[in-house]
C-alpha cells in the first residue's frame, strides 16, 4: 500500500478510529491492532512475503530470550551470529543472489573458464533492507546488554512491522521504538496536529516535487545519448530533487503518521541540501541508516581511532557497504566509494565535526562563504547521484562525458520551468523552516486560524492540481 494512494487514504482513518476508540483501553489490544494493520498494509502489496517478516520476527524474538538466559560469552555470540546469519541470509538471497552469481560467472570468464549458471527469478520483498536492519538492531542491543529483551511477542512483532516505517524507514532502533510499545498511549492534540502537518508536507514533497521531477529526470537518463550537456546537468539536478522529495517525503509521512498513533520516530532528514560540507550532508541525509552503520559497523571497526590506514579503511568500508545496501548494482558501490573519497580528507583532517550548527542560524540569508560551500557540496552530491541513477557504471561515465561538451552552456530544451519553480518554492519553505524538526513545523503556527487553514487548503489543492505522474517510492526497491 502506498502512502500516496486512495487505499491508504481509506486505511489510515479506519485504523486510527479502531486504535483510539475500540482498542484504546487495552495496550495489548492496541499493539495487536498495530500488528494486524501492519500486516494488512504490507500484505496489500504481496501477502506471501508476510511469512518472511514473521519468520524474521520469531527468530529475533527467540534469540532475544536466549540471550537473556545465557551468560556464556561463546553461546551469546553464537546466538547473535544466528540472528545475523538468518537476517542477512534472507537479505542476501532476495537482494544479492543474482548479483553475486553474475559477477562470479564474469570473474571466471576473465580467466577463460565458462561456468553454466542460471540466475533465479527472484522478487525483491519490499522494505526487506529496512526491517532486517531494524530487527538486527534489537538483537545486537540485547547482546550488548543495552536493552532488556522483551517477553511480549505482540509488542515485538509490532516493533518489527510498524506500518508507517515498515517499507522505507526511518530504520528505528529497538532502544527508541520498542519501549514505546509498552508505554500507555494518550492522545495528544498538539502531537497529532503536528503529525498531520508533517504528512501534508511529505505528500507535497512526494507528489508535487518528486513525481514531477521524475518525469524529466527519467526522460533524460533513459535517453542520455545525444542530449546536450546542459540537459544532462538538468537531468541530474532534477533527479537530486526527485530522490530528496521522494525519500524525505516518505519519511515525513511515516513520522507524521506515527505521531497520530502516539509514537515518536527518529528524524531521517535534516535539510541535507543546505549542508556546507560533505560530512554535514551525511549527518543530515538518511540519518537513520547513517547512524545505524555508525553504531553497528563503523564504531565496532574502530571508528576514527587508530592509524591513518585504519581510518581510511573504516571510511571506505562504511560507505561501500552503505552503497551496496542500496542495491545489487556496481553503480551503488561506485556511489558509495565516491562519497568515501569526498569525506576522507575531511575525516583525516579531523574537520568532520566543524559544522554541527544550523546554517545561518537566526538569520534570513547565509553568508557568501556559506552559500558557496552549500553550492559546492550540492555539486559534489549531484555528481554522485549520476552514478546512483545510471543503469550501469558505463552509462554513468557516458553521461558525465556528455556533460563536458560545448552544449553545456546552452539552454536545456525542453526545460520544465514549472517544476523548477516548484523546487524553488520547496527550498524557500525548507530554508525558512530549517531550524525546526521539519519545514512546516513552525510555519504559520501563530497565524490566525483562517490564514493558517488557507495555507493548508492551498497546499492540498497544490498537491491535487500539480501532482506529477504517480511514481513508486524510489526507496521501495531497496
Amino acid at each position: 500500500m502506498l502512502f500516496n494512494s486512495i487505499d491508504f487514504a481509506v486505511f489510515l482513518p479506519i485504523v486510527f478510529i479502531l486504535y483510539w476508540f475500540v482498542a484504546n483501553r487495552d495496550l495489548k489490544l492496541q499493539n495487536l491492532l498495530v500488528v494486524v494493520a501492519s500486516y494488512v498494509f504490507y500484505g496489500w502489496w504481496d501477502w506471501r512475503f508476510l511469512f518472511l517478516i514473521l519468520f524474521s520476527t520469531v527468530v529475533d524474538f527467540r534469540v532475544g530470550l536466549g540471550l537473556e538466559t545465557q551468560d556464556d560469552p561463546k553461546r551469546r555470540k553464537f546466538l547473535l551470529l544466528c540472528s545475523i546469519l538468518v537476517n542477512l541470509g534472507l537479505l542476501g538471497f532476495f537482494k544479492y543472489y543474482n548479483f553475486f552469481l553474475a559477477n562470479f560467472v564474469d570473474a571466471f570468464s576473465i580467466f577463460g573458464k565458462e561456468i553454466g549458471a542460471s540466475s533465479l527469478s527472484i522478487v525483491l520483498p519490499v522494505g526487506i533492507s529496512f526491517y532486517t536492519f531494524q530487527t538486527l538492531s534489537y538483537t545486537i542491543d540485547v547482546y550488548r546488554r543495552k536493552l532488556e529483551p522483551t517477553h511480549d511477542f505482540v509488542a515485538f512483532a509490532a516493533f518489527v512491522s510498524f506500518f508507517p516505517q515498515l517499507v522505507a524507514g526511518p530504520i528505528e532502533r529497538a532502544t527508541n521504538l520498542l519501549p514505546q510499545f509498552f508505554a500507555p498511549r494518550t492522545f495528544e492534540y498538539e502531537k497529532a496536529v503536528d503529525g498531520m502537518r508533517q504528512i501534508l508536507w511529505g505528500l507535497f514533497k512526494k507528489i508535487v516535487i518528486a513525481d514531477n521531477c521524475a518525469e524529466y529526470a527519467n526522460a533524460i537518463f533513459n535517453n542520455s545519448a545525444g542530449q546536450s550537456g546542459s540537459a544532462l546537468v538538468a537531468g541530474a539536478f532534477f533527479f537530486a530533487f526527485q530522490i530528496y522529495g521522494d525519500f524525505s517525503g516518505y519519511s515525513d509521512i511515516a513520522i507524521g503518521t506515527s505521531r497520530l498513533f502516539g509514537f515518536n520516530l527518529m528524524r531521517n532528514f535534516a535539510f541535507p541540501y543546505f549542508s556546507r560540507d560533505i560530512a554535514e550532508f551525511w549527518r543530515r541525509w538518511h540519518i537513520s541508516l547513517s547512524t545505524w552503520f555508525r553504531d553497528y559497523l563503523y564504531i565496532p571497526l574502530g571508528g576514527s581511532k587508530g592509524t591513518v590506514w585504519t581510518r581510511v579503511r573504516n571510511v571506505f568500508i562504511i560507505f561501500l557497504v552503505s552503497g551496496f545496501w542500496h542495491g545489487a548494482n556496481w553503480t551503488f558501490i561506485v556511489w558509495g566509494a565516491l562519497n568515501a573519497i569526498y569525506i576522507l580528507p575531511v575525516m583525516l583532517l579531523n574537520r568532520n565535526r566543524l559544522r554541527l550548527d544550523i546554517v545561518a542560524q537566526g538569520k534570513l540569508l547565509p553568508s557568501v562563504a556559506d552559500a558557496l560551500r552549500i553550492l559546492f557540496t550540492f555539486c559534489l552530491t549531484l555528481l554522485a547521484w549520476v552514478f546512483f541513477r545510471a543503469e550501469s557504471v558505463g552509462h554513468a561515465f557516458e553521461y558525465l562525458a556528455g556533460i563536458v561538451s560545448p552544449t553545456l552552456f546552452s539552454i536545456p530544451d525542453p526545460f520544465p520551468r514549472s517544476t523548477f519553480a516548484l523546487i524553488c518554492v520547496m527550498l524557500a519553505v525548507e530554508w525558512l523552516g530549517r531550524e525546526q524538526e521539519f519545514a512546516l513545523a513552525g510555519l504559520g503556527l501563530k497565524w490566525p486560524r483562517p490564514l493558517r487553514w488557507a495555507m493548508y487548503y492551498s497546499m492540498v489543492l497544490a498537491i491535487l492540481a500539480m501532482a506529477g505522474k504517480p511514481q513508486e517510492f524510489i526507496y521501495f526497491q531497496f
Binding site: I6, F187, V193, Y456, L461
Partner: protein, 288 residues
Amino acid sequence: MNRFLRNVTLFSVGLIACFATMYAINIVTSEFNAPRVESQTLIVGNSHMQQALNPAFFESAQNISQSAEPLYVTYWKLKKLLPRSSVSTVVLGFSYLNLSPLSNRKLSDERWSSTLFNRVYTIADIESLEGVEVDRLEFYRSKFKNMCLYPKWDHGSYMGEYFNFDKSVLLAPDEDIARHYLRDGQNVDISMVDIAFLDSIVALSARENVELILVATPIHESYFERIPGHFIAGFEDTKRELKARGIRVLDYSQLDVVDDEFLNVTHLNERGATRFSKLISERIATPE
C-alpha cells in the same frame, strides 16, 4: 481527541465545499463556453486525418482531429458538437487501422490514457462504453483534477487542429504494423466495437441531417503490403456496406503519392497534405 476530530471534520467539510463550488463553476463554464463549429465542413478522425486535410483548402472547414483518437471519442465529439453547430458535412477518417482493436486500448494504456482523459472529460460517456477496457480510476482522477480544483474557462481540449511538418522520414513499416495489428506477435481480429461506433456515427449524422463522407488517407505502399489480409477484406466489406447505405466513401489509401509527400508510412507531410486537401475539397464539392 474531540477537538482533533472536530477540526479534521471541519477542514474536510471545507475542502469538499471547495471542490463542490469549483465543480459547479466548471459545469457552468464548460456549457457556457462549449466549443461551437461555425464552418460548414467538419473534419474528424485521428492523426492521419489531422495531418492529411488542411482546412485552408476548403471553402469553409475546420479540422478537429487529434492524435490517437479512437472512433468512440470521435462519436462523443460529434454528439456534443453537431446539435449546436452549423455543420452540413462531416468528413470522417476511416481506414484499416480504425478496425483494429488495438487503437481502443488507449483508455487503459499507461502512456495514452491520461492524455485522452484530459481531452474528453466533459464529453466522455465511459460507463456506457462496452467492450473497451477503461482505466476508470485515471478517468475520474482526470475529471476531478479538471473540474474540482480551480475555475477553468476552457474545457474544449478535445478540439484538435491541423498541423504538419515539412519533412519526410520513411522507415521500415514493421514497427507500425506490429503496433497497429499485432498483439504478442499474433494478428488481432477486427474490432466489432469500432464497427458499432461507426454505425452510431452514421445514425447520428442522419439524425442531425448532416452528410457523412468517409475518407481513407494515403498510406505508403510498404505499409499497405504488410497489413494483414483479414483487415483488408474487413475494410472492403465495411466500405461496401456503407456505400450500400448511401454513405460516400472516398478510399485514397492507395493513391499514387511520391515518397517526398509522406511524413512517414502512414502520415502525409505538408506537401502531401496540400495536394490531398485540394483533391478531397474538389471531390466533396462535387455531388456523386
